[in-house]
């Protein structure tokens, strides 16, 4: 299936299992490092959001603690949130109220366990894969965990016994359920192309095709990106916490650290989605324009470099998340639903059919899954992208709530307005 002889050897032979203590120690080290980097990253992400929003709005942003860049601002915020009085409203459902922030926070953290963040390292103790838990079904695990995040929000909305919070929770569940489907469907072409659900092998496939999935499966990428925005409750899909309508949505009743768990989990989800986008569509830890890292199991400096590359890709998507938040206005609720159900889901389904047919055709032609195969996919994909964006561009996809009026209806409406203006000539309306 994978043409490169090296890779074929790597993947057909069962990997020699690491000795227990090597495995144990390396996993513990990886856990600690990933957890630390992730949590610090999420903290700095709040700062990044404030800085970038400030720059976009022509302001300076936080610059009072920790130098000109305000690098200690997250620490200051954290101290403030811990010291703050924690109010527990008397009307809440206490067990669920306490549980909700935890349930929002934990799944966001869990998904990182299976995301490969670097090329496997051929150390003197054996091949150490740069992923905390190398699950064979890593891909399915991330999807399953990502959809658990909605429980925290729904429970927060429900247990608050507050109409705004409840509306926020309802919106969030409706939104997440709708977009979950489109998200899952948009990823099926990736699986078809990789022929595997291990995230590491999806990366391998992109590295060996020398063409990242974003070029061969662009529409999948767009659907996934939009769905990821909806899943993480980010603008333009932040209806669950729409502050202008719902005060703060599902976290209206929360305060102090319990409150800040929700933003933290939002940022954690953002980081996870960005990492997934980088992994599934932008080649993961694959170093662009090189092939040394493709052989799965490399020297330490290449592993380090691939980790850096992966970090950069993830950071890029995080920036896009923030950038879009400070650019686009919020969707109206019916637009949100119609976009999810009437546009993205059918598009994703149709795309699966087209991609599956293309893959079948290319396999039938006897093409190996290598660079040529990728080029053929790119050609098909280019045509599809042009068609889809041509239709999108006609402005009939995300439409206002209207039906097209026939000339008869228009003339009838005109007649009514003229008659009305005759009835009240003085009132002027």
């Amino acid at each position: 299936m994978i043409p490169s002889p090296v890779l074929a050897a790597v993947h057909t032979l069962p990997e020699p299992p690491l000795p227990f203590w090597t495995f144990f120690i390396s996993t513990v080290i990886k856990m600690v490092i990933v957890f630390t980097v992730y949590m610090v990253g999420v903290a700095l992400l709040t700062l990044a959001e404030r800085k970038i929003s400030a720059w976009i709005q022509g302001r300076l942003g936080p610059n009072r603690v920790g130098g000109k860049l305000g690098l200690l601002q997250p620490a200051a915020d954290g101290v403030k949130n811990i010291m703050k009085e924690e109010t527990l409203p008397s009307h809440v459902n206490k067990p669920l109220f306490m549980l909700a922030p935890i349930l929002a926070f934990v799944p966001a953290m869990l998904a990182w366990a299976v995301i490969p963040f670097g090329a496997p390292w051929d150390s003197r103790w054996g091949r150490i894969s740069m992923v905390v838990a190398d699950l064979p079904v890593g891909f399915l695990f991330t999807l399953a965990i990502a959809s658990l995040g909605v429980y925290g929000i729904v429970l927060a909305g429900w247990s608050s016994n507050n109409k705004y919070a409840l509306l926020g929770g309802l919106r969030s569940s409706a939104q997440m359920v709708s977009y979950e489907i489109a998200m899952g469907m948009s990823l099926i072409p990736v699986l078809l192309l990789a022929g595997n659900v291990t995230l590491n092998q999806i990366v391998d496939q992109q590295a060996n095709m020398h063409i990242w999935n974003v070029l061969t499966l662009t529409i999948s990428f767009f659907i996934f990106m939009v769905a990821a925005f909806a899943e993480t409750n980010r603008l333009p899909f932040d209806l669950p916490e729409a502050e202008s309508e719902l005060i703060a949505g599902y976290h209206t009743e929360y305060s102090a650290m319990k409150f800040s768990m929700f933003p933290i989990s939002e940022y954690a989800n953002m980081a996870t989605s960005s990492a997934l986008m980088a992994t599934l569509f932008f080649g993961g830890w694959d170093i662009p324009f090189t092939t040394q890292d493709n052989t799965s199991g490399v020297a330490w400096y290449l592993t380090l470099l691939s980790i850096v590359i992966f970090g950069l890709k993830t950071l890029f998507f995080l920036f896009v998340f923030i950038w879009i938040r400070w650019t686009l206005p919020r969707f109206r609720y019916d637009q949100l639903m119609s976009l999810g159900w009437k546009t993205m889901l059918p598009l994703a389904l149709a795309y699966i059919v087209v991609i599956a047919a293309t893959l079948l055709g290319l396999d039938y032609l006897g093409l190996e899954r290598g660079f040529l195969y990728g080029l053929a996919m790119m050609a098909v994909n280019a045509v599809l992208v042009v068609i889809v964006f041509f239709i999108l561009d006609r402005g009939r996809i995300i439409s206002p709530a209207y039906g097209r009026a026939t000339p008869q209806q228009i003339s009838r409406l005109r007649a009514v307005t003229t008659a009305r203006s005759h009835l009240s000539p003085q009132s002027g309306d």
């Binding site: 970038i52 400030a54 720059w55 976009i56 709005q57 022509g58 302001r59 300076l60 950038w323 879009i324 400070w326 650019t327 686009l328 964006f389 999108l392 561009d393 006609r394 402005g395 996809i397 995300i398 709530a401 209207y402 039906g403 097209r404 009026a405 209806q409 228009i410 409406l413």
Partner: protein, 164 residues
């Protein structure tokens, strides 16, 4: 939806969501690198006009006494009734204020008191940073008004309408 509204045919680039989004993204991206407009307040301050009407100040004679002669014009002209004046008279028959209080909270900083004052005693000043721990602290008595040192507001001069 159920309501039939007439829809105007518009050119594609006007109704396209995609193009509008891209245009917006380009705009915000440009803003990332543009000159920032923040004034970092306690360190940097915006310059204020020479005719700025802020905290009051009572000017004094060379001997350090308030110039006020308690004529009663400023409490009369004051539209917000924030000046409390109790006149007194010394042995030579010179009038002076026994009590002169301005409630800075009631004041609307119109500057009429300065305009009407025949002795050029009470002024509004080019100063705006007032803070107190209690509301009572904002009632400035005569001692406090004479102790103010900030520059006073320049009155509008018909010969030089732009104040140059």
């Amino acid at each position: 939806m159920a309501i039939n509204v007439k829809v105007l045919e518009r050119p594609v680039d006007e109704v396209s969501y995609v193009r509008a989004t891209l245009k917006g993204m380009a705009r915000t991206f440009k803003h990332l690198f543009e000159q920032k407009v923040t004034t970092q307040y306690p360190e940097q301050k915006e310059s204020i006009s020479r005719r700025w009407r802020g905290t009051h100040r009572m000017l004094t004679t060379e001997t350090g006494k308030a110039k006020c002669v308690a004529c009663g014009l400023c409490p009369t002209v004051c539209p917000s009734n924030c000046i409390k004046l109790v006149p007194g008279e010394d042995e030579q028959g010179n009038r002076y204020p026994l009590v002169f209080e301005i409630d800075e909270f009631r004041c609307i900083f119109c500057g009429y008191c300065q305009e009407v004052c025949p002795e050029e005693a009470i002024h509004v000043g080019r100063h705006y940073e007032n803070s107190e721990y209690s509301r009572e602290g904002f009632v400035y008595d005569l001692e406090r008004l004479t102790a103010q040192t900030h520059p006073v507001c320049e009155m509008w001069d018909p010969a030089d309408p732009k104040g140059e």
